[in-house]
Structures are given as C-alpha cells and as structure tokens.
Amino acid sequence: MTAETDTPTASSAAPAARVGRRLPAAMVAWLQAAPLALVLGAFLVLPIIMIVIVSFWGATEYSIYPAFQFDNYQFLFGSPVTYKVFFNTFKYALITWAATLLIGFTVAYFLAFHVRSLTWQVALFLLCTIPFWTSNIIRMISWIPFLGRNGIANSTLISWGVIDEPLEWLLFSDFSVILAFVHLYTLFMVVPIFNTMMRIDRSLIEASYDAGATGWQTLWHVIVPLTKPGIMIGTIFVITLVMGDFITVRFMSGSQSANVGRLISNDIGLLQYPSAAATAVVLLITVLLVIGILLRFVNIRKEL
C-alpha cells in the first residue's frame, strides 16, 4: 500500500505489484460499458433495424419477399383508417395522461407532504404497488364483472335508484378502455413524482409561507415547478405505454375500438409482416417525436 508506487490515476489503494499489469483506464471503461451495450445492441437496436428493413419488403397473401419499395408506407398514408386510428391512439394517450397526472400528483403529494413519518410513507407506498403483484391482464379482466351490463356497478346504481336501466357505456367503450389504462398506469406517474417531491427542501415550503403564500399559492408557485421533472418522466412512461398498448384496447373495448397497436397486431395475425413493420416504424417515430417535444419543455437530466 505504498503511496509512492501508486500512480496518480489509480485512485484505489491497490498493492504495488498489481499496478504494472493494470489495463489502461480507457480500456477498463469500455469493458465496463460493453455488457450492457451488447445486450442493448442485440435485443434493441438490431431488432429495430430489422423492422425498418422489413418495412420496405413486399408481401402477397401467402408470402413475403425482400424488396425495397414504398408500397407499405403508401398504403398506410393513403388509408383514412390510419388517420382515424392514430387519432384514437392520441385521444387515449391524452385523456389517460390527464387522468393519471391528476391522480398521480395528488397521491404523491399526499405521500410526500402530508404523511409525516417515513415508516408510514413506505407502508402506504407499498400499498400502492400491491395491485402490481398480479398481471396486467388479470387486473384488466377483473373490471369486466364490475362494469358489465348486470355487473356490480350497474346493479348498485339501480338499487340506489340513481339510474333506471343499466348504463351501456360502462363496458366495451372508450370509457372502459381509459379506465383500465388509468388503473394500470397511474403508479408510473406516482413513483417519479413522489421521488421528485421527496427531494424538495422542506424549508422552501416554509420560506413560501413566510412570504405570505397560501397553501394553493405554494402548491402552484413552488411545488409544481419543482416537481416538473418528475411529472415529465411520468408523462413519458404513460404516453409511451398507452401508445404502444394493444391488449387493453382489445379487451376493454370488446374489439370495438382500435389503436395503432391493434393495427399492428392485426397485420401480424394476417402474416402481413412488412405492413406491420411499416406501421411500427411510423408509430415509433411518432412516439419519439412526442418525447422529443416533451423534453424541450423540461430538463429531466438532473433527475437521472
């Protein structure tokens, strides 16, 4: 452990004997980054490149063939169905985002600022995650007996005399799709917002009250601006999840509504891989654009 033989670059107090055999620092850094880079390259970048390539291929009813043609894109952009489905996807994303933000912010605010003891904070936070111990599909399907025509919601409302006949729009409608989305994805909003809120220096809140701000003014002028990075991360989670989803829309709409995900899944069902790939590429670009726009508003780097 002699300090003299240790090179200034080697900050660890390694035995002098090993210093000579040590790899250059740059090499070590590359080696450390390599495993993750390989995994991401093999399982993320490569498949995306494949999808982009296949999106230019051609297809008949029973086969696909390598080519470089724009038929898939031409068909996609020429069909009014595409625009309708994309509009629907945005509609789901926007409404779900608004609802999850409202609920997520409220829950996170309650946890971070009203629950005083750390034990309770942790306990209540874990409580929020309990639904996530079951799979997405089960959580989704469990809404069906609740919302159905003779389901719990309708029979309760009838027995209370609020309505005379069952509400048709409770299940297999945009309402049920969005309800399921909100149920599934609110936690993705709670976690990053809670995380950001916990880092807000409590003396800032006191300073705000000291300056004569009311509770609402403190919320709007101090807490919300400081929570923006968390809100943004949650927003990215929710929007990408909702825009890429197809199973929730299929189950909860009873196959009556469509989003881009279902368009892709239908194409795959019909073995129209090139067409599915083209739709996927357009969806990917759309989502990236949305995220790009969001990131222009808020700098989330200090949160990572």
């Binding site: 006191e206 300073a207 000291d210 300056a211």
Partner: protein, 325 residues
C-alpha cells in the same frame, strides 16, 4: 416599545420531550440579539416559534403589544432567513426577492422595481437575472436577506445564517449583517452556536442550554461575568475551578504566574501552546483540575517555562466570579 418582542412562558413540547421549557425574555426594539447554545438546546425551536413555523405548546409571543402566538408566519411582522437560505431554485434572484409581493398580487413592474431596490441594499442589483445555483454562498445569503427584508418586517429572524459559509467569508458577512442591522434599525434575532459570532455581533446574548435560558444580557456582561459553569465553558476563554469556597469562573488571561509561596493555586505545567499573539499554558492543579493560563507572547518569552515545571497561579479576587451552578 414600538416593536419590542416578548416571550412569555413560551414552551414547546414534542410528546414527552420538552424542547423549550417556559422561557421568558424581552427583546428590545432595534437591537441585535443572539440566541447562543449547543445543538439541541432549543434555540432554533425558539426562533421557529417566533417565526410561526412551529406552534407554541404553552405561553405567548408578544410583538409590539400584540399577541402573535397563533398567527400565520406572514401576519406576524417577522421574516425568517433560513439556514440553507431556502432560495427557490426555479426562480431568478429578482423573482425570489419579489416572491412575497407576487403572492400579494402586486403587478410585475412594481414588483421588479421594489426587488431591485432591495437588491441594491445588499449590493446584488447586477445579478438580478441569475438563478440561485449560479451564485456563491455569500451572494445567496444576500439574496435571502433581501427576500426577507422586502416584507418590511419588524423583526428579522436568522437561523444560523453564517454556518454554510467558509470561515473567511463568515467574518466578512457578519460585518455586513451588523451594518445592515444598524442601517435598517430592525430587530435582528440571530441563532448561532458560535460564541465568537455572538460576541462579535450581538448587543445582547441569550445563552440557552437544556431548553432553558441560562443567562441573558449584554455581550460584555456575559463574557465578563458568566453566572453558571455552563455559560463560562460555552463562552470560552474561561476556567471553571472548584475552590474550597465554591466554584468560580476565571478568565484565562486574568491569571498570573508566580512562585509557589505567593500562589492561590499551585500546579505543574502539562502543555504549552504557542498561538501567535498569545501562549496558552495548561497546568494541572490540586484535585486533578486543568487550568489554562493565557499569557501574551511578550510575558511568556520574557520568562519562558518548560513542560513539567512547577508553577504558582495567582489572580485578582475581583476577576473570580462565583458560579451559581
């Protein structure tokens, strides 16, 4: 009398523990007061109760003849400067300073003008558009001061305002605090655990320990005549010696070295420390007590001593203060 602050039997309990035990004190209007004590003595809690960020369990806080104990912070006529300054990181310096005006709904032009006036006062007008993160510690503190003063408080409460600064800057900022207090004429109540800070700044020092006020008075009175062993030790530069007639506090620079016969106490030198202008001798005297003697460098080097040497200690009877506890 116009903005005197009075604490009447002020008590703070957290469950079973008592953080502040029924303290009474009268802060004169326009004075610079320091609440001095070790951490956990209740000084910060006291300040936060005055500010309204901590509820009062018992007793009342009276400012300018008005009981403010249960008013919200902004309605009391106090303003607080926080330990870490608590500047809003997302707002510019000028917006930080004018935050309270914005909350009152004053229009932007007027807010800006008033903020610039306050920034002028603390010599920060040029940096009005910066964000707090782009400022040094000293600059942040000035902004925090401007933000507190813009509310035109009768009492400014400072919670360890200098502790986040490096020692050099601390001394400079403390001179500025004192100057600002003189210029504005506002009562300053400053919490600190540094006795040098308290002595340098305060017209009046309130020494707290274990949730009570040990002693309060003008800075010189506290230093020259500590009433309890705790105050004598905490204020520093004192020896607390148990003599047959009782415990006394004795300033280390009030002790002379003599030969053993003429001495009130005799002992043996255990350590000699050179401190530049002074030399500190530590001697072990009867009853295993350590006594520190502070000699000027001239005195010491005129008649140098060695560690282990037997010496006698003598002092003027008037400089020994009997301690009550």
């Amino acid at each position: 009398m116009k903005s005197d602050l009075e604490l009447v039997n002020v008590t703070k309990r957290y469950g079973e523990t008592v953080a502040v035990k029924s303290i009474n004190h009268h802060f004169r209007s326009g004075s610079y007061a320091c609440l001095l004590g070790p951490s956990g003595c209740g000084k910060s809690t006291t300040l936060r109760m005055i500010a309204g960020h901590e509820s009062v369990s018992d007793g009342s806080i009276v400012l300018a003849g008005r009981d403010v104990s249960h008013l919200p912070p902004a309605k009391r006529g106090t303003a607080m400067m926080f330990q870490s300054y608590a500047l809003f990181p997302h707002l510019s310096v000028a917006d930080n300073v004018s935050f309270s005006l914005k909350m009152k709904g004053i229009d932007a032009a007027k807010r800006r003008a008033r903020a610039m006036e306050m920034l002028e006062l603390v010599d920060m007008a040029k940096l009005g558009d910066r964000l707090p993160a782009q400022l040094s510690g000293g600059q942040q503190q000035r902004v925090a001061l401007a933000r507190a003063l813009i509310t035109e408080p009768q009492v400014l409460l400072l919670d360890e305002p200098l502790s986040a600064l490096d020692p050099f800057l601390r001394i400079r900022m403390r001179a500025e605090l004192k100057k600002l207090q003189r210029e504005t004429g506002i009562t300053f109540i400053h919490v600190t655990h540094g006795q040098d800070e308290a002595l340098a700044l305060a017209d009046e020092i309130v020494v707290m320990n274990n949730a009570v006020i040990e002693q309060a008075g003008p800075a010189r009175e506290i230093f020259d005549a500590p009433r309890t062993a705790f105050v004598a030790r905490f204020i520093g530069a004192h020896n607390v010696i148990a003599l047959p007639e009782g415990k006394v506090a004795l300033r280390s620079d009030a002790i002379q070295l003599t030969d053993a016969q003429a001495a009130q106490l005799s002992g043996r030198i255990t350590a000699i420390e050179y401190q530049g202008t002074h030399v500190a001798l530590t001697a072990m005297v009867a009853g295993e007590q350590e006594v520190t003697v502070l000699l000027t460098d001239k005195e010491f080097f005129g008649a140098p001593r060695e560690t282990g040497e037997a010496i006698g200690l003598a002092w003027d009877a008037r400089s020994a203060h009997a301690l009550s506890a």
